[in-house]
Subunit: 349 residues, 2 copies
C-alpha cells in the first residue's frame, strides 16, 4: 500500500539486519561506527523517515481497530482476554472507534489477515494480545508501518523499550509481591510459589515478585526458597500434581501464591483448609469459591492501549528516538482482592 | 438510505398499525376484510414489496456483521455470550465474514447505532442477543429492511413464527426436562426447581421443561409440584436465600434443577452433600467445582444464525409468507454434562 521505504529496505540496502537498523536508530552506541555509517547512508539514499507517528492513527480511514479472537475455551483463566475485549470495546466507543474481530490459525495466518485488513482499509490499526520475544507479527507490523499496540510486553531484552513497539502491560511482579506480602502478613511464614515453567516472560516476572517479597522478609535462605517453588502448565490437574509433589518433599508449606486462578484452584482441591492460597486474574471462579486473587485493571489497560495508539509521542521526523518512553509504554499496577474462602460440600451431582 | 416503502409507510397510508400490516401479510384470516382491503390498497399505492430476502445478506457490501458487546461483568453466567461471540467469529470467518463490535447504553441508543453503522455501510447486518417481546430493536430493523438474526426467540405469542424475524435459540425446555430426568433416574424423587421470576420467556420455558418431566413421572400432584418451585433473580446470594426459604417450608427436597449455574452454585453453597444439583450453561465454574450442567451448543447456534442470515428462504416477491418456517427459525437441542461434585475445603484465603 505504502511506497515509502521501510526498516527492512534500509537493512537490505545496507546489507544488515532489521535489528541492526533498529539499533542504529535507537541505541547507536551498540553499533560499530563502520556499520552505523553504512546504515545512515542507506537511510539517506532511500529517504527513509523513521517516523513513529506514521504508525499511529492520525489518518483514521476506517475508525476501526482489528483484534484477533481465538477459539473459545472453557478454561478458568480464558475469560481474562474476553474481559479485556469488553473493556477495549467500551473504551474504543468513547473515542469514536469500532472494534473488528478476526480469527487466525497461527502467527503467519495472522500476518496474512493483517495484510488483508490493511489493504482493504477495513482497519486503521491492530491491538495484539499474547506477545512473545521475537514475535513475527510485531516485526511485520513495524516493517510495514501499520499502527499497533500490544497488551503484553515484547519480553526481549533489547526491544522492551523499542519506541516503535507501543505496549501496555500489567505489572505481574508487583502483583505477586503483593499477594506474597498479604500471605506473610496474615501469619504464613513458608509461602510457596506455584507458577509456569521457565522461560516465560510473564511467568518469570510473577515468580520474581514472590521471590522479592520472600527475600525482603529475610527469614528463609536462597536454598529454602528454591525448595518452595513448583511449576506446571496452566491447568487444574497439573497444579494438583505439582503441589502434591511439592508437599511430598517434606517441605513445610503455610500458604501458596499462584501465577493464575487455575493453578490456585488445583491447589485448593488438593490441600487442606489450613493452607492459604492466592490466585491471579480474579476470575469468576475465584469469586464463586471465595479465592483471594490479583485483579488486572483491564479498563486501565484498554484505555492505555488506545491512548498510546491515538497519541502523538513521536513528533519529530527523526526526533522520536529522544522522546520519553512513557508515551509508548505503560505498566499498570494490579491489586489484591482478598476473600474468605467458601466451603463447598462434595456430593454426587 | 433506502427510498423503498416500509411496513411503517404502508401502515401510515392505510391508517393502521405495523402489526395490522404484518397480519395482513402473514395471517390475513385475523384481519377484517375492510381493513385488509385498505392495507392492500396502500401496498399497491406505495409499491411496497414485502421481500424477506431484501433483509438478507445478498448484497454483502462490507462482508461485516455488527453485534453489541455489553460492559464486562464478572458474573458466572456472563461468559455465555462471550463464548457465543467466539463461536460466531469463527463461523463468520469460515464464511468470509467479519464481526464488528459496538456498545450501546439502551435499546434506543442501540437503534441509533444500527442506523449509523448501516448508513456508513460499515455492516451488512446485525446479530442480536437477549431479545424480548415487542423488542423495539427488531421492530426497527424490520421496518428499515436491515438484515438481522437473533440468538433468542422473540417470545411474543404472535411473532414467534414471524418470517421476517430470523432467530436461532436453544431449547431450554428440553434442557430442563433432561436435567430433571437425570436427577429422577439417579434416585431422586422430589426434584425441586429454582428459576427466575415470571414472566420471563426463557425462564418460563425452562420451568415448563422441569414440570413436564415431573408430571411424566406421575408421582407428585400438581399442588406438590407447585410447592417445589422457587424463584429469584440470577444471583448466587439470591439463590441461597430462595433455597433456604424453600427448605424452611418443610417440603422434602432430594435434588434441585436450576435455570442457571449461578443459581446452582447458590444452592450448593447452602445445601448439604445429600442433595444433587444440576445447573444450566456449563460455565467454567461448573467445570471447576464438579457441577453437572446443561451445555448450550454455541457452535451450532452461531452456524445456524449465519445460515439463516445468508440463506434464501424467501424467494418470491410476496410468496415468502408461504415458505416453510425452518429456513428462518432454528431451535437447537442442548445436552447434559454430568459430573462428580468436587469438595472444596473452606479456609482463610
Amino acid at each position: 500500500m505504502s511506497p515509502l521505504p521501510t526498516v527492512l529496505d534500509v537493512g537490505r540496502v545496507a546489507g544488515v539486519s532489521r535489528q541492526t537498523v533498529s539499533n542504529v536508530l535507537n541505541s547507536p552506541e551498540l553499533v560499530r561506527p563502520a556499520t552505523r555509517e553504512k546504515v545512515e547512508a542507506a537511510i539517506a539514499e532511500l529517504g527513509y523517515r523513521p517516523h513513529a507517528s506514521a504508525r499511529r492513527l492520525r489518518t483514521q480511514k476506517s475508525s476501526t481497530l482489528g483484534i484477533r479472537l481465538d477459539p473459545m475455551t472453557n478454561g478458568i483463566s480464558g475469560s481474562l482476554l474476553d474481559r479485556f475485549l469488553h473493556a477495549l470495546t467500551e473504551q474504543a466507543d468513547r473515542r469514536g472507534l469500532r472494534v473488528m474481530l478476526f480469527t487466525a490459525t497461527d502467527p503467519d495466518d495472522e500476518i496474512r489477515q493483517f495484510a488483508r485488513l490493511r489493504d482493504g482499509a477495513d482497519v486503521d490499526g491492530f491491538v495484539l494480545t499474547a506477545t512473545f520475544h521475537e514475535d513475527p507479527r510485531t516485526e511485520w507490523l513495524i516493517e510495514h508501518d501499520v499502527p499497533f499496540v500490544t497488551f503484553g510486553r515484547p519480553w526481549g531484552i533489547d526491544d522492551m523499550n523499542d519506541p516503535r513497539h507501543l505496549w501496555v502491560d500489567v505489572d505481574g511482579h508487583s502483583g505477586l509481591r503483593d499477594a506474597t506480602r498479604h500471605l506473610l502478613a496474615s501469619g504464613a511464614e513458608n509461602v510457596a510459589y506455584l507458577g509456569w515453567p521457565s522461560p516465560s516472560g510473564t511467568g518469570d516476572d510473577r515468580r520474581r515478585g514472590w521471590r522479592e517479597a520472600m527475600e525482603a522478609r529475610g527469614v528463609l535462605s536462597a536454598a529454602q526458597l528454591d525448595a518452595l517453588q513448583a511449576e506446571t502448565i496452566d491447568d487444574v490437574q497439573g497444579a494438583r500434581d505439582a503441589i502434591r509433589s511439592l508437599i511430598a518433599t517434606g517441605v513445610r508449606i503455610d500458604a501458596v501464591a499462584c501465577a493464575s486462578d487455575s493453578l490456585a484452584l488445583g491447589v485448593l482441591l488438593e490441600v487442606g483448609p489450613t493452607i492459604a492460597v492466592v490466585g491471579y486474574d480474579n476470575t469468576p471462579v475465584a469469586g464463586a469459591i471465595g479465592l483471594s486473587s490479583i485483579e488486572q485493571p483491564l479498563d486501565e489497560v484498554a484505555a492505555g492501549a488506545l491512548d498510546l495508539l491515538l497519541g502523538d509521542g513521536g513528533r519529530g521526523i527523526v526526533g522520536w528516538t529522544s522522546s520519553s518512553a512513557d508515551t509508548r509504554h505503560r505498566l499498570v499496577t494490579p491489586h489484591l482482592v482478598p476473600r474468605e474462602r467458601t466451603a463447598i460440600a462434595g456430593a454426587a451431582g
